[in-house]
């Protein structure tokens, strides 16, 4: 029996902001997320025992490494705090959460501060696309390729098409749902953008092909953002709850986790799964690991926050979570299952396509949104009566998969 890990809350910066236009250093992003987290949880700097930062590529985007130390910069009371930075491409945030929760489970610390952060609007899209290519096997898959990742996730769609058939109209619906959900989220990057399913289905000057079968509307955003999350041991959470006159059972926990890494190149992944019913079997294993550890059946989930870096990755998540048989994600789309008012809404926050995708922050943002849903504090994007929410965060072309169940 492992020790429980509680989530006390956290803070998300407004993903619509452009921090380069504000002429700010990545230290400001981290600072706002940390102070916002303290404010949201009514915790003080000296309550925290350890800090973990998830970040993909600040060395490239911001010429800045050693991000753990920026936690200490926030308040003199944090001087001496043990910190580390974690990197696993777009799953960096989840890896930071895993490290923090493992330390709580190991009884090393009682209260952990986790921050996911990425500042991406410092460079033009072509340069940023090249930087993101380092999340693939750069020399083999990205070097000299314009926008390598849409092309890799376009291939994921092609693989589905080859094995099971895939209609682009189903991808368009995924895009439209995410944009529509984002309109309810006051921190979502695209909350005031125009979108319609007709636009997502169409192709033209304003919805051009970016890679293979993927168009602009199939892609997540280039986003600046930071998210904090405060995790606690049972003893700390009990004390925290007692001081507020609430029962510790009313605080959500990380009920289960899954973490698997597949071969780095997309070609090797496809080769590995050639005889498998699932296109990305290691992602499927991460999901089943988490659900088993959480003793949770898919029918018990109220919502999923998944990694829709592209519409094809959400399409993959639908059958890999077990909403449908492998290759039949389209059924859940056509039946409205994943819609905001569906039986298992996916990405009520708007996901990476609607809410935004500051790469290293995304995994932490998913956990914070899961926390908000199960505590009934998600505001206009609250899924009524949500009790248990799963997250799926993916690094690379399905390479590192991290799954959490929160409830």
């Amino acid at each position: 029996m492992t020790r429980p890990v509680y989530i006390l809350g956290g803070y998300q910066t407004d993903f619509a902001r452009n921090w380069k236009k504000e002429n700010k250093h990545i230290a400001a992003l981290i600072r706002e997320a940390v102070l916002g987290g303290f404010d949201a949880t009514a915790l003080a700097p000296d309550d925290v025992d350890v800090g973990h930062v998830g970040n993909f590529a600040a060395e490239l985007y911001c010429m800045q490494g050693h991000l753990g130390a920026f936690l200490v910069d926030v308040d003199p009371a944090l001087s001496g705090l043990p910190t580390a930075r974690h990197e696993a491409a777009c799953a960096s945030g989840s890896i930071a959460v895993l490290a923090a929760s493992a330390e709580i489970q190991a009884n090393r610390y009682d209260c952990a501060l986790v921050v996911g952060v990425e500042q991406m609007k410092t460079v033009n899209p072509a340069v940023g696309g090249d930087y993101l290519g380092t999340a693939a096997w750069y020399e083999l898959e990205a070097k000299g390729v314009e926008f390598p990742f849409p092309k890799l996730f376009g291939k994921l769609g092609d693989e589905y098409d080859k094995r099971y058939g895939l209609k682009d109209e189903h991808l368009a619906h995924i895009s439209a749902v995410n944009y529509d959900n984002a309109k309810r989220n006051p921190k979502a990057q695209t909350r005031s953008w125009y979108m319609s399913e007709e636009h997502a289905r169409g192709e033209g000057k304003y919805n051009s092909v970016i890679g293979g079968r993927l168009k602009v509307t199939d892609c997540s955003q280039v986003t600046d953002g930071a998210v904090s999350l405060l995790l606690a041991s049972e003893a700390f959470a009990a004390d925290y709850a007692a001081k507020r006159g609430i029962g510790v059972e009313s605080l959500p926990q990380i009920l289960g986790w899954g973490h698997r890494t597949a071969p780095l190149t997309f070609a090797d992944k496809v080769a590995e799964s050639a005889e498998d019913r699932y296109v990305l079997p290691q992602t499927r294993r991460a999901i089943t690991d988490a659900l088993e550890r959480a003793d949770t059946d898919i029918s018990q989930l109220s919502a999923i926050e998944t990694h829709d870096c592209f519409t094809t990755s959400e399409y993959m998540a639908i059958d890999h979570f077990g909403l449908t048989e492998p290759g039949e994600s389209w059924r859940a789309i056509e039946d409205g299952v994943i819609d905001f008012d569906g039986t298992l809404p996916i990405n009520p926050s708007g996901g990476l396509i609607g809410c935004g995708h500051p790469v290293g922050a995304t995994g932490v943002r998913q956990l914070l949104d899961a926390y908000k849903q199960v505590t009934g504090t998600a505001g206009d994007y609250q899924v009524p009566g949500a009790t248990r929410v799963a997250t799926l965060n993916i690094g690379g072309s399905g390479t590192t998969s991290c799954v959490f169940v929160v409830g």
Partner: protein, 434 residues
């Protein structure tokens, strides 16, 4: 009959080819509302439709947009429209010509709105039918409407309250606007408070210089764009229309701050209107791949490299703090720095806080109304954000020292020792620029 937001409706935009007409049309169409753009000719209206596609970055939005000309289509299109949205030039006589045609053609329960940025709403109903007057109000979007979500809703004394409530719900709901209801007073709330600061800086530029004033009251004081760059962006003619209107038709403690500087009046006559007249320029002029800066005393332009010195030390210190997210530290520097630069910066910025929150009870009902229109309409730090980062008690002391009126809400916040800014979903850090 109760109006249903979900079945709203048909909108006809007059002046559908202009920046405000097309931009407003985009907001309606993006919400799924069939929108008709009217202009002098259908071809002109079509340019509005192309602008809408460009703003939405989507050809699909055009499915909801049709076009026509005043002569051929106004009467027919207005007859079954639910909302007629006027966005022609800011000229009361011209607007009245169109309102007369609308009055004759509209169905009895349709709503008529003007996008005017500060003319009297009530005056626009002179000579119109009772029905027109009861269904008429101002909806002031800021340019560009598809990007700036703050907007003002201005009923006049004769507007049916149900009409006002319906439009407010439409704007705040399907159209996704941050709505601030204001009284029908000159320049409403946002432009009244904002142009007081802009014109005061323009006045001070005569003594202190253009580049210096923009460096002193720059982005680090809570705005994306420096004040005189903003006036060039808005256009000197528009600036003059707004401050002249306020100067002539209001009489509060800041009346003198609305007097258009003499040098601006002269240069406007000589065709200097800011960015819209690139050859003559405004406070700044781009030529030969360099920027020239106006010398207000002579009317000459000098290369920026010659007149722009290093920004004042107080500005550099505030920028350094803001760059790493230490906004409270920046305001501490603002409050405590000594010297002429600091005194002048405090005069303008504290004047903004005092004048902005001082309009509560006159133009708007609550402090948050001023905060929301300055934050979401002007993209300036809302006065309450500055008060919170300064501390309410200290703000009261600073205002008293500066001899400025102390708004009641700041006194209240100081007494309660509570923050004044009341928007839980807004990152206040977004208003500070390094």
């Amino acid at each position: 009959m109760a109006r249903d937001l979900r079945n709203t409706m048909k909108v006809v935009v007059l002046g559908g080819n202009g920046a405000m007409g097309a931009g407003s049309g985009e907001v309606f169409a993006a919400a799924g509302i069939p929108t008709v753009l009217l202009a002098r000719t259908r071809d002109k209206a079509e340019t509005g439709r192309a602008r809408i596609e460009s703003m939405a970055k989507a050809e699909a939005i055009s499915a909801l947009v049709t076009t026509g000309s005043y002569d051929d289509d106004l009467a027919r299109e207005v007859a079954d429209a639910d909302l007629i949205f006027e966005a022609v030039s800011e000229d009361l006589d011209l607007k009245r010509v169109y309102f007369e045609q609308v009055d004759a053609a509209r169905k009895p329960d349709s709503i008529v709105a003007t996008v005017s940025s500060g003319l009297s709403i009530a005056a626009m109903t002179d000579g119109r039918s009772d029905s027109f007057a009861r269904h008429f109000l101002g909806i002031h979007f800021f340019n560009p409407p598809n990007v700036i979500v703050g907007c003002e809703l201005i009923p006049h004394a004769g507007t049916d309250p149900e009409v006002t409530a319906f439009v407010e719900a439409l704007l705040a709901g399907p159209l996704g606007r941050e709505v601030v209801k204001t009284s029908d007073t000159p320049a409403f709330a946002g432009n009244r408070v904002g142009f007081k600061v802009l014109n005061e800086v323009a006045q001070l530029a005569e003594q202190h210089g253009v580049a210096y004033m923009d460096a002193l009251i720059g982005p680090h004081t809570g705005r994306a764009m420096s004040p005189l760059v903003t006036v060039d962006f808005v256009g000197w003619d528009v600036h003059k229309a707004i401050v002249d209107n306020v100067a002539a038709n209001t009489s509060d403690e800041a009346n003198a701050a609305f007097a258009l500087p003499g040098y601006m009046a002269k240069l406007i006559d000589a065709g200097h209107l800011g960015n819209k007249t690139p050859a003559t320029g405004g406070f700044y002029r781009a030529a030969d791949q360099q920027t020239f800066v106006l010398d207000p005393t002579s009317g000459d332009y000098r290369p920026a490299a010659e007149v722009v010195a290093e920004p004042p030390e107080i500005a550099l210190q505030m920028k350094a703090a803001i760059r790493v997210g230490r906004y409270g530290r920046a305001m501490e520097i603002f409050a405590t720095a000594r010297g002429d630069d600091a005194d002048l910066m405090r005069k303008v910025v504290l004047g903004y806080i005092s004048y902005g929150l001082g309009r509560v009870g006159e133009i708007v009902e609550q402090p948050r109304d001023v905060d929301r229109i300055m934050g979401f309409g002007f993209n300036w730090a809302p006065p309450s954000v500055l008060v919170d980062d300064l501390g309410a008690r200290r703000t009261v002391q600073l205002l008293e020292t500066a001899g400025l009126p102390v708004p009641r809400c700041i006194v209240g916040a100081a007494e309660r020792n509570q923050p004044l800014f009341a928007e839980p979903n807004v990152d206040t850090g977004r208003f500070y620029f390094a």
